[in-house]
Subunit: 240 residues, 6 copies
């Protein structure tokens, strides 16, 4: 089955925290989105084993996305050939137009691993003749696929990007859905008590939104520079 977008994250909940509003927008526009978590997020602090995966599946359902888990080990994720090939295999199978994933992360080492891993996977996806590459057989039976765009949502464990991001997405209309998806992670966030991290995350989205005069916005960097058909695609800024 094909997907229009793959969102590749280190852990369950990263995709929602970083770009849950954008995922809901893409789905609302009729695109098919697959969330790919590089591990199952175990061990988790307040959950019995397996509970976090179930939470993640419910959160994906709320956003209208599908979800798969790779077999990486939480905390010990690095940019390995095995994970590169697994992600590349998913890209060739699902032929997405866009791929999303964490970049510029230096607090959590798992997050730091995603950016280079994803760049390599997108590149591997477009190459042919893997049957002749020792160790690359996983890709031997699938056809090359060119991803159009690789985008990177902001990791909320890092300081804000300030002015240094490529674009923001207005997610005001889908923010309720993002909030609902995050609330599924009951073993991570104490929603009723005004969870400190959730409040910080929402404060970031609200603050970036206010800079544009909208309620909420999520920010992204881009692997390649942006190209548009016309500057009219951009929404107004608060101060031009």
């Amino acid at each position: 089955m094909t997907y229009d977008a793959l969102v590749v994250s280190a852990h369950p909940d990263d995709a929602e925290v970083q770009m849950g509003g954008t995922i809901a927008k893409l789905v609302g526009d009729g695109l098919r989105v697959l969330l790919v978590d590089l591990c199952d997020g175990e061990p988790s602090d307040f959950a019995v084993a397996g509970e976090r995966v179930a939470q993640a599946q419910r959160a994906a359902a709320i956003l209208g996305a599908d979800r798969v888990f790779l077999d990486g080990q939480d905390r010990l994720l690095t940019d390995t050939l095995s994970l590169r090939l697994q992600v590349a295999a998913l890209i060739r199978e699902h032929r997405p137009r866009m791929v999303f994933g964490t970049t510029d992360a230096c607090v959590h080492p798992d997050h730091a691993a995603v950016g280079p891993l994803l760049s390599a996977a997108v590149f591997y996806g477009r190459l042919d003749h893997w049957q002749r590459v020792p160790g690359g057989e996983l890709l031997a039976d699938t056809a090359p696929w060119n991803v159009e765009r690789l985008f990177f949502p902001h990791c909320k464990m890092e300081p804000p990007w300030g002015r240094d991001f490529a674009f923001a997405v207005d997610v005001s209309t889908t923010y309720d859905r993002k909030r609902a998806a995050l609330a599924e992670y009951g073993s991570i966030f104490r929603v009723e008590e005004g969870d400190r991290l959730l409040t910080l995350y929402e404060a970031e989205d609200a603050y970036m939104g206010r800079l544009f005069g909208v309620a909420y916005a999520e920010t992204f960097k881009s692997q390649s520079p942006l190209l548009v058909t016309s500057p009219t695609v951009f929404l107004p800024a608060l101060h031009a």
Copy 2:
């Protein structure tokens, strides 16, 4: 009369060189564009007085834009209150959604003056009560106007921006029109002889285009960060 976009430049031909393809695209999409030159470009090397203004009017007509000239002095342009107010007055009169102008220029001092002048003019345009500001009477009788976006095309006397621009516009379909507009400046460019500057300018647009796998692209910075409704507005990149 209202315009959708004002393109403010130091000299006649700057607008065409920097973003002629984008102007033609905007016009082709049904937008009304006004070119504002801060001076008449006199003295010019190989033209009799007044010839350059006539060339500029023909070039604007080819692009489908209107054109006005302010009374600045070529070579001696600086960020003066008088020019700020004149541009602000045009903004209030024509109520554009977008304003464009040169920034980050350090070779030609006239170009260097445009960026701060334009930021101030856009800001002046939105303020009220000018009748109470000594020296600001020029804006006293017009209503405030909020420009949605201030964008800056690349000045071709400067080194390329490399990766450091906000977005590029695919101008492949309107590049012939840009070329035709520039050819009107017969006293500046020796078109038949393969003018060195024209060739350099086109080489930049072609090179930036090839980075995206299209024929020609013009690059822009932005006063404020970019906001979009969805990441799907961006065209494919050559390498994702």
Copy 3:
């Protein structure tokens, strides 16, 4: 009379918006603070002439600071010799250890003028022999004074600085006072109605604070690199 700190701003309310919490902290620590507004902020949208100055004086009183107004013209402030000398004269008169003022502003031209003006004024303040400088007589009768530190609070009309600031000040304990001071500007902010700008400003302070695990923080750049006696002066970060 001497002051420990001068806070130089373009308009009444800039000092409070940018660093009201820090001003209150300095005063609370027993330092004497003088607010210097380069103009009286007229014309103001919803106030009768003179009302804004009265609001500003009340706001200063709430913060525990004194306040003076220079004779610049709101909207038309630029980096002039006259304003440089006036600020330098205040520096020599009041002999502050620290000077604060706006920098890196590109939305409001008045704000953009403050940074270079202030650098020059601080430098003028330390020079001798002004009686021999034609045009510099204003400083002839005062003794040179070396300011120890020139700091720049973040201008809230600009995008956030992201990671690119020198230090933040924890203003959680004095934030109520900042809020109260801002509330005095009844002709600018609609406090009861949840003023859009005030909400944005507070969102920035809260967001920066949360990055450190505190309620509110104000961010600053520094003219010169920072020097400390020991790295123990820094408060904990959320993620080390």
Copy 4:
């Protein structure tokens, strides 16, 4: 036993070269400091095996710090899981408020490995449930610990940071001690002959110091932005 600060370096002598003056200051202020060298520095050019470790222990004693050596291989240090866990174990054992270590190094590959390794180790240190992480058992029996601050001294094999560092520490009063500690490394530095490297190192500290009008200063970057209680914690600059 707890320590207030851990200083993690690739080789014996790195800690002293990079921040010997700051270590002596911390110790002088009553803090307990542990130096952690990722390897024993063998082979060394002019020393018999084991001599360098003895030199390092004497140097630590001069600074008033304790010292341990991990089992990495000089020249072949990389950011491995094993070293991450070993450092994290030391953090959990000694519960330091501050951790220091090399960053931004691109000349010596051992130095280049320290920054990401240390970020990961500090993060690992704060996580719980390691008994459920295959390969992470080394941390299973110790309690999580939150480091308050991760700072990075300048690597003296690299060009100076210019303006781009977070803060400098005035080490004028402890510089003699730094010099004495470095002199213990007789097999590396030819102290009597005016060792070329030692002279370069001291020139950097003296030059950075002079920028502030003090005798010697050591410069640091910071993992997270700086937070202070008041801007009064900063010492005067030479030019404000």
Copy 5:
């Protein structure tokens, strides 16, 4: 045998694409140049196995350089100890004054591996006593060698460096030779049909050249800052 310069690349054709004109210039000036490809470039899309190596040897001959191939695996190159030591061994054997190699690459993971690998190899090359380093025996029998300069040509899969490179080399006089060398790679580039990639590559060299008023230029970054005997070594710029 000694060489004056080693050019280390991921794949056959990288050296020619990135700096073929500079290689031809060095050779033309009487220097001896060795091209070192970290792999043999297999599998290649349109070539039978072994054909690409033959093409590479012919291309080197056209440039006047020698060529060797290491045993890395195309697509799976990473910064391994084995490759570091192999390159260091070549450096000690051939004692070059200059080493060149790719940096700042994020599209092709093989290219991304070259920069850190090369920095380490150059550093390993200068160290002694490898017989005492377990795993480092490959270097035990060769004498240390100090490379004078490590330079990085621009990877043409990346966006241009804009203003942010150390220097450009005027390769106008040797560009025919570069073009001829690239034409040998008949299984990669469709020369007769106006190959899209070749056209993009030449457009970059031409564009960078025109910025200086010359026909073609190749751009380089530098591991260390540049030092010259006099500023007169620099050729004229188009706009000073």
Copy 6:
């Protein structure tokens, strides 16, 4: 009379402090150098009026350069049309291949004015038809002249540039001459007493030199990117 290089500075002694060693090298290589001070440096702290100009002339003689003074006012220098035209007139009269001048200065406002002033003057110098520009008559009777290169020495009142400069010049062989030239400014520097500023200045040159393994080096930025005939023009670095 023609000169090969013009060195344009705010004050007498700036040229020597910033690039005295390079001036002596250029002269030693047979180039003719003219120092242009924008003002006479009055008032000066410990000199009677006119003494500083005499000191400056002696210093220039020691370096082997000629010297002229423009009529700017020390402390009040700004980027005026008058100074632009005066410098442009000198450029057209003396037809230098290279022009040098301060940039990136934010401590002393006089220094901050030099960079943009000089860029404009170099550009004015190459334009024709000034007789038709009201206010530009000063250039009417001289022929246009294209400067090849505009370089900017480091202002020693600013923090070091770290890695961010274009090139350094090895001035070890001419440093005695620089020291002798500076010693002529007896009313500014207390040479015998180990003047604090002189010591700081020399510390910078020594420190930058040591980074390359030479005794002294002066650092420069460049208006345009650097172009060379071959990478062999660069001297060795300490760490490649």
